[in-house]
Structure formats: structure tokens, C-alpha cells
Amino acid sequence: MARNNTSRTLAAGEMLPKDIQKLAKRMSKKKSSSSSARKSPYSGLWTFILSIVSVIYVIPIILVFMNSFKKKVFINKAPFAPPTAKTFANWDNYISGVEKIGFFSAFINSVIITVGSVLVIILCTSMCGWYITRVKTIFSKCMYYLCVFSMVVPFQMVMFTLAKTSDKLKLGNPWGIIVVYLGFGAGLAVFMFCGFAKSIPIEIEEAAMIDGCNPVQTYFQVVMPILRPTCISVAILEAMWIWNDYLLPSLVLDKTKYKTIPIAIQYLKGGYGAVDMGAMMAMLVLAIIPIIVFYLFCQKYIIEGVVSGAVKG
């Protein structure tokens, strides 16, 4: 009983600093960290523990970076040793890797496919999503439910037939694959746009119509700006998927002519019996760098996009 009482008073006593802390959190980040440090003696300890964990978290990437500068025979022997004067390979791994798999053309292909697909997906599916929410026919309802349904279907289900279909329609190039991505990525995008378009008050659009806008003008000047946050979320989600996708492009693209980065890296293993570990490490570094740069610049949008995508999906 007595213990209970003290803990109660303690809890009541803590109320005030907690409220202040909350206020401070809203006011400025600096204040909140100092007040929370005062609040709990464990805070410093947790920071310390999490620092160690995050160092462990980054180690794999640092290891790959380190090994990319070692001569290839030393990578398998001692992957955890830093490069020394004897094992240091300078830029050799990078040069041989880039030559072997044609990294830069793969990079350009990846950029064309990702940027092109994302732009097309955003434009087409946002229009489609808005159309489906506003025009309620049996047909548009069917299309909505088909889109939701397609989100559930795993790629292996359509893998073989999709490869055959796109082959027949000659979509095996970076421009053609955009159509495939629009088709296969439409499910999630249409679903998210429909969800958001429902919440737009129809009066805004009616006002635009009365002012003499046709539906195209209404869409581009009124609806699209309102849909912007959803556009960013969809763009992030689709970009993350398409940039890293391996199986779909490897089946659809004509691999002798076009490679994306994941295909090129996998080719390094498949194409040359024994894997050239040096070139592999160098290519992994080159594959990771653009992602990390992109992440550090757009972190806020990426995290928002992931959260909204997860809650909807």
C-alpha cells in the first residue's frame, strides 16, 4: 500500500515536467532533448545502446565499401580486415566491374524505366482514380475492385504469361516496359488515389465547372493540386519498387540489349562461372550510393509515403 502511495505521488509530481516537456517538444527540438535527459537517468544509457546498435546496422555497408578497395583474392580470405598497402587495389575493381557489366548503360536504363514509369503511373492512375470515384457506373466499380484484387496477386502467378504477352506485343525495351509497369502497378496507385479523391468535396469541382472549366481543365487546375500529397506518396512507393525490381524486368526485357542495375549485378554472378568478388563489391557500392543520396534528400517524403501506403494497403 505504502509503495503504491509513493508511486502515485511520484506520478502526480511528474505530471508537470512532462507537460512542459511536451510543450517544449512542440516549441523546439533542442529544449525537448535537454528536458527529457533531465527526466530520466536512463535516457543517456539508451542513447548509448542505440548508438552501438546503429553502428552494427551500418557495418554491412561499410564492409562492402571497404572490400571494394581490396584486391579480389583477399576479399574471401579476410572480409573483415581493412585494406592494407599489400591488399589495396585502388580503383581497379570499379574499372573492371563497370566494364564487365556495362554499369553506366544499366544505370541509364534503370533511370529511364523508373522515372518514366513513375511519371506515367502518376498521371494515368490519378486521372483514372478520380474518374472512377466521380463516375459511378457498374463498369467503374468493377475496375476499382479489379485493381484492389490485383494488389493481392503475387507476381509469380502472372510471371510466365506476362512475359509471353509482352514478348508478343514487343514491349521488351525500356519504353515498352513502362506499359507493363503501368499495368502491374496500377492496382496500388488507383486504390490510393480513389481513397483520397473520395475526400475531396465535390463542390469545389462543381464551382470550377460553373466557372466554365471543362473536365480536363478542372482536373489539371483544381483536382491535381489537391491530390499532390498522394502523388508524392505513390511516386515514392512505386519508385522504390521499380528501381529495385529484378524479376519483372529480367523476364520482360530483352536481356542481351538492356539491363537494369539489379539484372547487371545478378549477371556478374551468372555470366562468369567464378564470381569476381572485387568487381561485385565495387558494383554493390555503385548500386547503393544513388539510393542513399536519394534517401538523405527526400527522407521526409519517403517516410510519409511509406506510412500512408502501409495504412491504406
Partner: protein
């Protein structure tokens, strides 16, 4: 009136997506269902064989093995990922120093693609196992735990972000009220916090579950099914049936249909659970 005007614009607004959707999804899906009842090597020579493919499929010991292996893998990875993800999310919502930096670091691996991740971890795990005179491909167990570690590294940050959003939505007054009523820390966690973030838990559990079931790239890069297809997950098994064995395309398609039903069942279960939660609140 508005709607009628808009309907004339159907070709502009909905048709491009519809055509792509038919090419990219509806036609392949319909053909896929049909072909699972056929024997074929290319699509043109399909011959109806009824349920034969499904019978052959369950006679394939590798498929049965892959099924159990995947199920076990999914269960272990769902539990570990959600446990660690939730714990880190709890710590990062306490306002300790460096929260933003930690969040950035933990989320980062999520953006790296499966193939790249697979090769990164192949290097590290082989380096560690070399001390014991083994490699990843010595036994299916090494491949299994290798993939668990890899998935944890990739997905903890992802579920952490969702949990943080969930935890921040819990009103602070509620927690304070519980503390004033004399609840201990563990009581606050289990009786107040967990029920309040239940929607996030449902989402994360199902996301990680479907991700583990559909895992392909990481499996391909890390072990490629070695030794002798023992570390093959379902998706890789289906791919190898299609492209590794001539004459088994029909069986592969039948496997894909079964795979689709498994993933579909998981999704329906999720819908059911989320709806039940919505009714309660």
C-alpha cells in the same frame, strides 16, 4: 450533369490505365488460371489435362519441402521483425537524444534492393562462417538463418516507422491517467499501449507475412536454393519449375495458382482482422 459530361472523357481519363491494366494484369492472370489446367511449353501448344498438374505438384517432394520451409521462415521472421521493430519504435518515441539520426539509420536498408542485399550478406555471413570452416551453402539451416538475419536487417526499419506513427497517435492523457491510477510500466505497456496500437500491429504482421511469403530476390542472391534446392522458398521453387525443367511449365503454373491462394488467404484474413478492430473502436 457533371457526371454525364465527365463520362464523355472516358478515353482520356481511364482508357490508358485500362489498356495497360489489361495487358499487364487481366490477360496474364486469366491465361495463368487457364494454363494451370494445361500441359504446355509455349502458350500456343497448350493442351487441356484437367487436374493432372495439381496432382503432379503434390508428388514433387521439393515443392512440399519449399512449402514448409517458407511457412517456418515466415513465422520466425514475422515474430522477430515485429518484436525488434516495436521495441525500437518504443525507444524512439521516448524523446531520447539522437532519435532522428537513429530513425534514419534503421530505415535505410529498406530502400536497398533484394539482389544487392543478398550479396552484401553473402559476403558477411560467409566471412563469419569461414571461421567454423563452413559456408552459407553447406546446410539449409545456414541459409534459413541467413535469410532471417537479412530480412530483419531490411524490414525492422520499415515496421518501426509504422509503429512510431501508431504510438504517436496514442493520446498522452491516456497513459498519464493509467500512471495516476497506479499502473506499473508493464501494465501500461500491455493493458494500454498494445491495445491502442493494435491496428499498426495488424498491418505490420500482415505486411511482413506477405513479404516473407513472396520473398524471391534475397533468396536468389543469398543461396540460390543451395544445397540442392534445400533452401528454396516457394517463389524460387516456382521460378525454377518454370524455367529450370522443360515440360514442367504446367506444374509451375499450378504451383503459382496455389501460391496465389495462400497469399490471397493471408490478405483476406487481414481484411477480416482490421474490420473487427474497426468495429471495436
Amino acid at each position: 450533369m457533371n457526371k454525364k459530361v465527365l463520362r464523355i472523357y472516358f478515353p482520356l481519363f481511364a482508357l490508358p490505365t485500362l489498356i495497360a491494366f489489361i495487358i499487364g494484369f487481366i490477360v496474364p492472370f486469366g491465361m495463368g488460371i487457364y494454363l494451370s489446367f494445361c500441359k504446355f511449353t509455349t502458350v500456343a501448344d497448350a493442351k487441356w489435362v484437367g487436374m493432372q498438374n495439381f496432382k503432379d505438384m503434390f508428388k514433387d517432394p521439393e515443392f512440399i519441402h519449399a512449402l514448409w520451409y517458407t511457412a517456418l521462415f515466415a513465422v520466425v521472421s514475422v515474430i522477430t521483425i515485429n518484436f525488434f521493430g516495436f521495441s525500437i519504435a518504443m525507444l524512439l518515441t521516448k524523446g531520447i537524444k539522437g532519435t532522428n539520426l537513429f530513425r534514419t539509420v534503421f530505415f535505410m536498408p529498406n530502400l536497398i534492393g533484394g539482389i544487392v542485399l543478398g550479396y552484401i550478406w553473402q559476403l558477411i555471413l560467409n566471412g563469419i562462417l569461414a571461421n567454423f570452416g563452413a559456408t552459407l551453402t553447406f546446410s539449409e539451416k545456414y541459409g534459413f538463418w541467413g535469410m532471417i538475419i537479412l530480412m530483419n536487417w531490411q524490414q525492422i526499419g520499415y515496421v518501426m516507422i509504422i509503429y512510431i506513427a501508431g504510438i504517436q497517435n496514442v493520446p498522452g492523457e491516456l497513459l498519464e491517467a493509467a500512471r495516476i491510477d497506479g499502473a506499473t510500466n508493464s501494465q501500461v505497456l500491455f493493458k494500454v499501449m498494445l491495445p491502442m496500437v493494435m491496428p499498426s500491429i495488424t498491418i505490420c504482421t500482415f505486411l511482413t507475412l506477405t513479404n516473407s511469403f513472396k520473398l524471391y530476390d534475397q533468396n536468389l542472391a543469398l543461396t540460390n536454393g543451395l544445397p540442392s534446392n534445400k533452401s528454396e522458398l516457394l517463389a524460387l521453387n516456382i521460378y525454377n519449375t518454370f524455367y529450370g525443367r522443360v515440360g514442367f511449365e504446367g506444374v509451375g503454373q499450378a504451383k503459382a495458382v496455389v501460391f496465389f491462394f495462400i497469399v490471397g488467404a493471408i490478405a483476406v484474413a487481414q481484411l477480416f482482422f482490421t474490420h473487427r478492430k474497426e468495429v471495436q473502436q
